[in-house]
Amino acid sequence: MPSTTVVKDKNNDIKTNIKGENMKRVLSLSLISLLWGCSPSHTDKLILTGSSTIAPLAVELAYAFEQLHPEVEIDVQMGGSSRGINDVRLGLSDIGMASRELKPEEQDLQAHTVAYDGITIILNSENPVTKITDEQVIAIYTNQINNWSALGGPDQPITVVNKAEGHSTLELFLHYFKIKNTQVIPDAVIGDNQQGIKTVVGNPWAIAYVSIGTAEYESQHKQPIKLLSLGGIEASTATVKTGVFPLSRPLNFVTASTPSGWAKEFIDFSQSVQAHSLIINQYFIPNDAQ
């Protein structure tokens, strides 16, 4: 039972003197947990930063690796491919995750390809159009065609969905179709794959391009989208795996120099056969060349 005594202090105020046992317990408990939380940990640490596309995969790889090697902790952070490359150059992280090939000015770094990802054009299932040629894609994206009737579909305006500048998906898309971003006239610009998928799901007359793995997963899970073939080749993780599909990009672990220590072991693990099932689970294609 808290007891109170009324005392007057030097300011002549009424001072309360609560001798609550509960109060003391709460205070000491929170102090202990605060202090416990304050001491730094003592295991080895490996830090990865970079592409948010690769991040979920990296978390899975890291978890599996940690089970095999409990002496190390691997921290995965997002921030984008450019951040990943920048951080590894400045030594702020051990491995950078980049969802693209290294640029010419980045050749001082080393890229270790862990998986591949393809890019496909998607339409809503309600849209009766099933095939679009490369020239038609270019025309749609540069606003020369802006109604589905020009492609044999219904009289509906085409909602063109493009990716934001700087994303490797965009660069690959532009490179394949040989157009510049200044020529593209979009009706919507998206950041992640999921946003692209949800936009097409919500708008039957939209056209977008997203990662093949994601699109495959969603269409298999009853989302009303369909993947279009490119250059006559069907869009699926299978065709990317055989290298036949024309639009694909590598998912790279980037290091500043030849990796050593935990970085080397982790990269080796990620490129090994053991990692294949983890990669497939995230809807990417494992790097079979290893």
């Binding site: 300011n11 948010s52 997002m78 921030g79 984008g80 491919s81 450019s82 951040r83 920048n86 509906q156 305006p157 909602t159 934001a164 500048e165 700087g166 994303h167 490797s168 971003n181 200044t182 979009p186 009706d187 919507a188 610009v189 998206i190 950041g191 946003q195 949800k198 936009t199 919500g202 708008n203 039957p204 007359w205 939209a206």
Partner: protein
């Protein structure tokens, strides 16, 4: 009242520390943007022909307008609705319903912007598509922002109404004023500073909101000619491109952040001017 040296100075320290944060952020933004401003000058942001940073074109005007329109739109919608809801809770609803309503609003104020954005993408945008494609538009952004800031406008108004001295209410009853008359002529004017403070905070929030507008407003860099056109706000721009921006592109994004801060400063100064006139 007899004051204490320690009391006064520790509180003063707390106050100036809080103010210092803004200065730090200003310093941070200016520090990051300065190299680019020094190289190309400020006018380029208003006179370049488009926003294509990889081709060194840095026209920020459409995005500035988008941020402004969207925040203004949301505030115009959320303020009357929020005030009405607060009035409802305070003067019209039975105690139990009022408590429930308040709890609902407090709950909403804690829901992440991602959730609002997702709901907007899955429900609001397809609904607009049926009227007028492409759906993701200024209107969608305004709607989602309104839903996000309404709870806090209502809650701060509610708190302001609660503070009205009970003597005012007794006087109103004694004079036989109608309920609505009392509200309009006594409660609202008395509570106005509190309401305005809440509205200013929330318009700041509306200007600074990133995630939700990114998901529903289309993100096309253009000056909108109608509510149904897609727009890109300065905040969405930073979020979209920062992860992949290198070198000057990155600096340009910081410049846009600085510009947004200037817009916020302008709006806050305007609000304080209104408030000052109200009391004069």
């Amino acid at each position: 009242m007899r004051s204490n040296f320690w009391l006064f100075n520790s509180l003063k320290l707390a106050a100036w520390l809080s103010a210092a944060i803004l200065l730090l952020i200003l310093f941070f933004l200016v520090n990051e943007s300065l190299p680019l401003i020094q190289r190309i000058g400020l006018m380029r942001f208003f006179t370049d022909e488009s926003w294509h940073p990889l081709s060194e074109l840095y026209w920020l005007v459409p995005m500035l307008l988008a941020s402004f329109y969207m925040a203004v739109g949301a505030v115009i919608l959320a303020t009357p609705l929020g005030v009405l809801v607060a009035i409802f809770g305070h003067y019209y609803a039975p105690e139990v319903l009022a408590k429930f309503y308040r709890a609902l609003l407090e709950l909403l104020s804690g829901i992440p912007s991602v959730v609002f954005g997702l709901w907007g993408m899955i429900v609001i945008v397809p609904w607009i598509v049926q009227w007028m494609p492409p759906g993701a538009s200024l209107l969608a952004g305004i709607k989602v922002l309104t839903i996000m800031i309404l709870p806090l406008v209502a809650l701060t108004t509610d708190a302001a109404l609660k503070r009205i001295p009970i003597t005012y209410m007794s006087a109103a009853i004694a004079m036989g004023l109608s309920r609505w008359g009392t509200i309009r002529r006594i409660s609202l004017p008395v509570a106005f500073p509190g309401i305005l403070s809440g509205v200013v905070l929330q318009s700041g929030r509306a200007l600074g909101e990133t995630m939700a507008v990114l998901m529903v407003s289309g993100n096309v860099v253009q000056i909108p000619s109608s509510l149904f056109q897609p727009v890109r706000t300065l905040t969405a721009n930073i979020a979209l491109e920062m992860s992949y921006a290198m070198g000057e592109h990155r600096l340009a994004l910081f410049c846009s952040g600085l510009l947004l801060l200037c817009l916020t400063i302008a709006l806050v100064l305007l609000a304080s001017y209104i408030n000052r006139n109200q009391h004069a």
